[in-house]
């Protein structure tokens, strides 16, 4: 989506420009002929349809085919054409129908009739709901002098997230945006990006050695990583080392499982690095060609004494094992990966941990090379322009000084704390929530409730009556993913593709897709808010002295609905046709997936495997290499030998241009040092939270049967796991007199929960664990209500100092049988 700044573009540049790069690729016309029989084509039987869609039961976006009979979705099957999801749907994907037909779905707009949190609402019409919001917003903005940032907004991850975000940020004009990043993967994405120039994609289809620490790909399914990895473990190509305080389903598949004390991963990586540097095991040519400040880093690691023996005392992993892992890793390098992980920020040092992991992988040369961390390629899409008004009185985000570097997605915990404690530079009086559920997803639930109670206006857009929705003044019901078309999306990877979510059936009840909600909200808000701006915005007032009002209103983008007038299908049509032509659009609508050479490349290899791109056409090394004048994609791809016959080890040492400031692998971050951040990963004893006797460190995690807290009311998934249990080491449980199924009370400095116990040898003795997402208190969710316990009720709301990410694994708790 491209945003045009309407006026005063030289005065103020608070609108972020999203630049869609890349060149148009031809070749769509080749695809005009019919696809092979193996692909999913719509069947026009009586009353039966097959609709290509994209799953939204989690964040992976797997391609699916919805089987529709008489406008009822009967079954979801995987769409084999999509390279990222490799012809699969997991348990949650299969249970999408139960989300569509969930009896507790939000069906109509609701307006609060009781107190916040008590679940009392009255049914309203859309017009009534919009008017209610418009009246309240007008009053708030008038009182706040048109400071748009007085309204905060947050969004859960999804294909339509940007539609909501663009409305709130570009059209409405608030800077206070929050999303999942700071409670999810921001520390690892930023750590890798500042070090090797990108978060990258772990090429688990070709890696020969993988260290997976904390990440749990068997249970927290990620495509294509999960599918690629577990077909290659146990002597079938990939050595897998799992480092985790818990023996997970991923650990079951490991060649080596190392039980680590929570919060000590950095010591483990530093010791691996020490062993590698001391033994000179690293790829010297690669380091020589591609590292910046290597000698500084080497001196720092060796002088600091990060020996395996030192790390053994901290991590509990024997020094000999650490040395062996370092040796084996470097022997397999460059096809060796210290896996980046997803939901991170375990302890205060997380940013440094991710940096150390990236540097360790890079020491073996496993970056931008087959079997290492690769960056892949993204197919281009056209633009959708939005005219964004500039509001002179809109202020910057409130949490910008909460950490060394706070990005445009904010620090959820810092932001929430500031509002709850009334310590904001200006009043934050409202909150728009789309598809996110901070009551369950942000640490320290009591504080989140306190924040929401302080708001004068809370609007929730969702499909389910979540715990957060119970704090809303107005609830707007979105339709589920099976009832809407969403923005067409290009998926980067070694096998890039474009995929489209189309609606399987029309929206049920009075629900709407978010683009229509934004249109309706825009229509209701434009005129009243225009009056507020005219009253308070001096720049606007002076502009109105020279130009007619109607012209300024429409050309300046003050018609908030103007960007949402076209249907999503029309917008998608422009975006695809602009780069790939009409033939591509027809293929995409028929098959749900498109990439330029799909017809030629896509082949069914066996009942269980497909070829998406031939091996020599995959995008492994994409960075500009030494000696390459200009990267000519077509030439390179036509070279039959480029990735097939050549050993990755021979390509690895080549000098490349990385997307970092120095264009090299960054050992030393001088710019961060100025902000008080360690320029190189270092261990600080004082940052490590020790576990005193009688206490446990609480750790949390995800599961293959539930996605965060969004699926806890899904009856099909509750069949697989009825509630969550707390894992406690079996010996510890014995001393506490706790047996399987006993109800225990877990107390932390911020909360207390009751949950059933699962004593097991599969967890380290100093930690307790339970799965995130359960423990909903929303009385409108029949099956989820008070089922199990919520982790964020007991996790303390603290942040790490670099990015403001929520620290998830440093809370100490006590456990007793009740």
């Amino acid at each position: 989506m491209q945003i045009e700044i309407s006026r005063r573009r030289f005065l103020k540049g608070s609108v972020a420009l999203m630049i869609l790069g890349g060149t148009a690729l031809s070749g769509a016309d080749i695809l005009a002929e019919a696809m092979s029989k193996a692909t999913a084509a719509p069947v026009a039987a009586k009353g039966r349809r097959k609709v290509a869609t994209i799953c939204e039961m989690c964040v992976n976006k797997c391609a699916a085919i919805a089987h529709v009979e008489n406008n009822i979705v009967k079954k979801l099957d995987p769409n084999p054409l999509f390279p990222k999801s490799r012809n699969m749907l997991c348990a949650r994907g299969q249970a999408g129908i139960s989300a569509l037909y969930d009896p507790d779905r939000l069906k109509y707009p609701l307006i609060r009739a009781g107190e916040r949190g008590d679940g009392k609402y009255r049914r309203a019409t859309w017009e009534e709901a919009y008017k209610h919001i418009a009246d309240k917003l007008t009053k708030i903005l008038d009182e706040e002098g048109d400071n748009r940032s007085t309204i905060g907004y947050c969004a859960g991850e999804g294909l339509a997230e940007h539609t909501f975000k663009s409305f709130m940020s570009d059209k409405f004009g608030s800077s206070n945006f929050l999303n999942h990043s700071s409670i999810c993967l921001q520390s690892t994405v930023t750590g890798y990006t500042l070090t090797i120039g990108g978060y990258g994609i772990a090429d688990l289809e070709n890696a020969r050695y993988v260290i997976m620490a904390g990440a749990n790909r068997a249970e927290a399914i990620l495509t294509p990583d999960t599918m690629d990895l577990f077909k290659r473990t146990r002597g079938r190509g990939a050595k897998l080392v799992v480092v985790d305080p818990r023996y997970t389903n991923t650990a079951m598949h490991a060649d080596t499982y190392l039980q680590i004390k929570p919060g000590t991963d950095l010591a483990f990586v530093l010791a691996l690095t020490y062993a590698t540097l001391l033994g000179q095991l690293y790829n010297k040519e690669y380091v020589e060609n591609n590292f910046q400040d290597f000698e500084k880093y080497k001196k720092h690691i060796l002088d600091s004494g990060y020996t395996p023996e030192w790390a053994e005392k901290i991590t509990g992993i024997p020094a000999g094992t650490i040395c062996k892992v370092a040796h084996d890793f470097m022997a397999a390098a460059p096809q060796a990966i210290y896996y980046q992980g997803r939901r991170t920020t375990w302890s205060k040092n997380d940013f440094q941990l991710r940096r150390a992991m990236a540097l360790f992988t890079a020491l073996g040369g496993g970056v931008d090379v087959k079997g290492g961390i690769v960056f892949g390629h993204k197919l281009p899409l056209g633009d959708h322009a939005i005219t964004a008004p500039i509001y002179a009185n809109a202020k910057g985000r409130i949490d910008k000084d909460a950490a060394a570097v706070v990005g445009s997605t904010g620090s959820w915990v810092a932001w929430r704390n500031m509002v709850a404690e009334g310590k904001t530079p200006y009043p934050v009086r409202g909150m728009f929530v789309y598809k996110q559920n901070p009551m369950l997803s942000v640490p320290d639930t009591a504080r989140t409730a306190e924040m929401l109670r302080k708001m004068d206006l809370v609007v929730v857009i969702d499909t389910m009556p979540s715990d957060t929705a119970m704090f809303a003044d107005v609830i707007l019901p979105e339709c589920t993913y099976l009832e809407r078309e969403d923005p067409v999306t290009s998926f980067a990877g070694t096998e890039p593709a474009i995929a489209l979510r189309m609606k399987a059936i029309e929206p049920m009840y009075e629900t709407k897709p978010v683009i229509e909600i934004m249109r309706g909200l825009g229509e209701a808000l434009s005129k009243p808010l225009w009056e507020i701006s005219k009253k308070h915005d001096e720049d606007l007032q002076s502009e109105l002295e020279d130009r007619p009002e109607e012209e300024v209103f429409s050309e300046g983008g003050y018609d908030l609905a103007d960007a949402y007038q076209e249907s999503q299908e029309e917008i998608n049509h422009h975006m695809v046709v602009a780069k790939h032509g009409e033939a591509a659009w027809r293929i995409l609508r028929e098959k749900g997936v498109f990439y330029p050479q799909m017809n030629e490349y896509f082949k069914k290899l066996s009942d269980n495997s497909y070829q998406y791109y031939p091996r020599n056409k995959k995008y492994y090394g994409v960075l500009k290499k030494e000696g390459e004048m200009v990267r000519d994609d077509s030439l390179d791809r036509d070279c039959e030998t480029c990735e097939t016959c050549v050993n990755p080890a021979d390509i690895a040492p080549t000098s490349r241009t990385y997307s970092t400031p120095s264009k090299k692998i960054e050992c030393y971050l001088g710019a961060m040092e100025k902000k008080g951040v360690d320029p190189m990963p270092a261990w600080h004893d004082e940052d490590y939270v020790k576990v005193p006797k009688g206490k446990y460190k609480f750790i949390t995690g995800r599961h293959a049967h539930f996605t965060q807290n969004a699926t806890v009311n899904n009856i099909m998934l509750l069949e697989l796991m009825k509630e969550n249990y707390v894992w406690i080491n079996d010996r510890e449980a014995r001393t506490l007199g706790i047996a399987f199924g006993d109800m225990v009370e877990i107390t932390s400095p911020v909360g207390k929960v009751h949950i059933k116990a699962y004593p097991t040898p599969k967890i380290v003795s100093e930690a307790v664990f339970y799965i995130h997402g359960f423990g909903s208190k929303s009385s409108l969710q029949t099956f989820a209500h008070r089922n199990g316990a919520s982790d964020n009720e007991i996790i303390e709301g603290s942040i790490e100092p670099v990015l403001g990410c929520a620290i998830m694994h440093d809370t100490l708790v006590s456990v007793r049988k009740v």
Partner: protein, 220 residues
Amino acid sequence: MNYAMALEYQNCINCQACEVACKQENGVQLGADKQRIWVGMVEGTIFGRPYANIYPSQCNHCLEAPCVSVCPTKASHYGEGGIVKVNPKQCILCKGCMEACPYDARFVDDTRVVIDKCTFCDHRIAETGTTACQATCPTKVRTFGDLDDENSDLVKLLKTRRFFVQKEHIGTVPKLFYLLPEDEAYAKQSLAHTTDIHTWEEIKPHYDEARNRRSKEWKR
């Protein structure tokens, strides 16, 4: 046609996508004490270190199916390709088949008041060529196919890999073939030391003999 299934059980991550796909595809009763397919898990410790083995499973569609032999009303019968099925109209819920099945693959569906079990998704074989459980599996544990077809992926797998079946000694001639992991340590960990390991060449005559004897009963 002689339908069977091979399982690369070492790929299984216990995500239970197969179970949900089965329920959605076949309308299996929710809340029943058992279901058509399942993922079995055995866990414990060896010298204090935890381990776990995962065995995805379902009806074996035995060539010598005790559940078919025991049925007094012929509700339990062989369908096309030797798929063991239940005719709901003839089922009197005597549960003899549940007792007879050594794999615990049958259960009572309270909503239809009938014995329910895996059908190898026979209603969708013609259209999709495979079962819902195989189609949806993230790590592609299952390969469904026709033992009579020498060119099927199934037979190709059985010809190139060694495998075992469950409770072979009972003589049911079961048709779920568990593929032996090539990694010896894991093979040892996930097998009983008494489990017999087979090759297709060696076991095929036995399966052919059973098929020839019983296939007269198969519906065509």
